[in-house]
Amino acid sequence: MTDQTQNSVAFVAESIIPESPPPARERGIVKWLRANLFSNVTNSILTLATLWLLYLVLSSTLPWIFNGVWTTSSLNECREVLDGKVGACFSVLTERWNQLLYGFKYPYDSYWRPNLALVLLLVAIAPVLFFDLPRKMLAFTVIYPFLAFWLIWGGTLMAPIVAFVGFAAAAAFFQHFGKGSFALGFFGAIVVAFAVWILGGMLIPEGASENAMLSPVPSRDLGGFMLNLMLGVTCVSLSLPLGIALALGRQSDMPLIKWVCVVFIEFVRGVPLITLLFVASVMLSYFFPPESTVDLFLRVVIMITMFSSAYIAEVIRGGLAALPKGQYEAADSLGLDYPQAMRLIILPQALKISIPGIVNVAVGLFKDTTLVSVISMFDLVGMIRGPILASTEWNGVYWELLGAAAALFFVVCYGISQYSQWLERRLATDHR
């Protein structure tokens, strides 16, 4: 019976039709194009418009870049070589490369010092950025700031050593006494550090800088992209602890401390960085003791650190607020006091949540270091607008210089933001 029905129904296939490839429009690149670029009328118009725009941009920039001249010593020579053709004068970059990177006053024979400092910086921050590296490398990170200071500014080795010994003594004091009472350890450590610095300062002989191993370089000789990097790295690392303190202060139960922190944070976030830089350049020196001279670099570092610490404090406050209340209560019920609870339970979690925000602040701050050119410091932008464009050889070479500055910043900032995204994926412990 069954056999009969099966055989008698005409539309039931008895043999398998041989496989054939999908039609041409449904495979390979054609399918991809149809799906992604020309799926409907609007999309097709958008695609064509974008292609036209890309053509406009590339057809004007690519010949300019590929016809570029790299080996002339002035704009006029470069124009002669180009002979009316479209082309860039990248020779300004090759000729002024050192000025773009180091400023125009940093001693030529000492360029190896900032270079070495940069390489060591990468070694020093590696264990901070990548947790898989051996923890022992952190020891070098601790020494690095003093080493870098000595390398870049030169002068006597005694100054950074005394500074380091002061911090080391303070840390040792805190290790020993901080276990019993946090307040005693903390305030005692500050006193110890100052004692070491004052005593050590007396030990450094007068004029030790003149015949030191590395010749001293005054701050006003720093410049170029080096200045941007130095300001960025210094201010971000200084503002992290300050930002944590401000964030904790803003959450505090003590009204006085809370209001001091709130007023500071809201004030700094309400004014543009440029006004704070004005403060650094024209106003801050009024607040130092009359006989002291604090150089502009340090004043700028103070103001930028204040600026970024307010922003970092807000990011960390977000992280603190995002922690469930149970974490605070758990710490209390374990009998931990406030410093212990913060150090062992709250901050490790809150900081982890706030890492992406902190990186955003860091990138923004690094970009904002270009503003120091407004108060006539010769950072990368200041060098371009000042000495290089004003020189007779290179008067009028805008695009090559600005393009190079943009490219330098893009590489660094894009790199940092990619790192932050990697870290976010790495630290994601929730169930996804």
Partner: protein, 410 residues
């Protein structure tokens, strides 16, 4: 038998100040207050000594003195004999002008780029991603300088518009793009109802506000009708009429005309001149902040769960209505708080005007006035006061709006 006794009354001991949690916070605050007072005293003392040594004092009298410098871009009457306070006012208005303009255009750029970045079109979304990454990762100061360079070094001078063999020509005979700025036609009324120009324009604004109120009324009426009958009357022609007819009528009555920019002598005259620095600042702030807003818009739209659009589709809504009625109202709640801080950033970044010579408050009060009078402390304090007030006002206004669109939770 038991006796109930009160716990022994603890007498106050000095060590309780540090060990008893009831008093400890008081102790800490007292210490903090003393340290704070010492710091303020130290800084204030230094300030007084330094000022005395320099023979200076703090006084704001200089604001009434004649400024003695000219400002090209200005919204109110000003000449070099006007006071420093007047120059500062010109600067304030210029700051507000560029901030408002840049907020509007940055929002437009940002929304377009953010929506297009989510487009299904591979090429468009990639191009938008490149736009966002390039503009976010390069300092805004460099963008301002780049666009200013385009304005001054690439655009032709007014000279090149002259003569029969002019190398440049005006767009539609109405817009002139020169290295001194962009000249556009200026509207004016031939027979205004009021004598004053300002009053005539205020009348136009009043009519527009009336149209807005009328259009809203019609919308409420249509919604009421829809709820009663289930059918929404077609309101589009009526609303268009309410918006257009009164304004056009008013323009006709007052005789709207355009004053064209013309080449006279070595420069253009007539029409509205938008200076190069203003355009550089406006455009740079717009595209730079637009990239940030694009990211906010994108994450706001992506934050709405897919179930929402699927549920809306299941209800039979069309694609446009899903966006308007379901996705956008929810996405806006996510987008608006970061948008507020972007507006604040624009206002603060407008202080970079000083780099291209646009006469905003930083360039007038914090730049030329400061350098001429040497009153650094007073100028910088006034500058900070202005920006603080502006920031607080913007965040206050935006917070009010924010709470009005907030999810009403019970």
């Amino acid at each position: 038998m038991s006796t109930l006794t009160d716990p022994p009354k603890e007498s106050f001991r000095l060590s309780m100040l540090i060990h008893d949690t009831r008093y400890r916070s008081l102790t800490f605050q007292a210490i903090a207050a003393v340290v704070l007072a010492l710091c303020i005293w130290y800084l204030g003392n230094n300030l007084i000594q330094n000022l005395r040594a320099a023979g200076l004092n703090i006084s704001y009298g200089f604001l009434a003195d004649p400024a003695g410098y000219d400002i090209n871009q200005r919204l109110v009457e000003y000449d070099s004999q006007s006071s420093h306070a007047r120059a500062a006012l010109v600067g304030v208005l210029n700051t507000l002008l560029v901030a408002v303009l840049a907020c509007i255009t940055a929002t437009i750029f940002g929304v377009i780029a953010g929506v297009l970045r989510l487009s299904q079109n591979w090429l468009v979304s990639k191009v938008m991603a490149v736009y966002v990454e390039i503009f976010r990762n390069i300092p805004v100061l460099i963008w301002i300088i780049i666009i200013f360079t385009i304005m001054t070094a690439v655009l032709p001078g007014p000279r090149e518009f002259r003569g029969d063999d002019a190398t440049s020509s005006m767009l539609f005979d109405a817009f002139a793009f020169t290295n001194r700025g962009i000249y556009t036609p200026a509207p004016y009324f031939e027979r205004g109802i009021f004598g004053s120009v300002t009053l005539n324009w205020l009348l136009v604004v009043a009519v527009l506000v009336g149209s807005f109120l009328g259009a809203r009324k019609i919308n409420t009426w249509a919604t009421a009708k829809q709820e009663a009958t289930g059918l929404r009357p077609n309101t589009l022609p009526i609303i268009l009429g309410v918006w257009l007819v009164p304004v056009l009528l008013l323009m006709l009555i007052m005789g709207l005309s355009w004053e064209m920019p013309e080449l006279k002598g070595f420069n253009f005259s007539g029409g509205i001149k938008i200076g190069g620095p203003l355009i550089a600042l406006w455009f740079a702030l717009s595209i730079y902040t637009g990239a940030f807003i694009a990211e906010n818009v994108r994450s706001g739209i992506q934050a709405i769960s897919k179930g929402q659009s699927e549920a809306a589709a299941a209800l039979g809504l069309r694609q446009g209505r899903i966006m308007n009625l379901v996705i956008l109202p929810q996405a806006l709640r996510v987008i608006i708080p970061p948008l507020i801080s972007q507006f604040l950033n624009i206002t603060k970044n407008s202080s970079l005007a000083i780099a291209v010579g646009y006469a905003d408050i930083t360039a007038t009060l914090g730049g030329i006035t400061l350098n001429q009078t040497g009153r650094a402390i007073e100028c910088v304090l006034l500058l900070m006061l202005f920006y603080l007030t502006a920031s607080l006002l913007i965040s206050m206004g935006m917070n009010i709006y924010n709470s009005s669109v907030k999810l009403k939770e019970r």
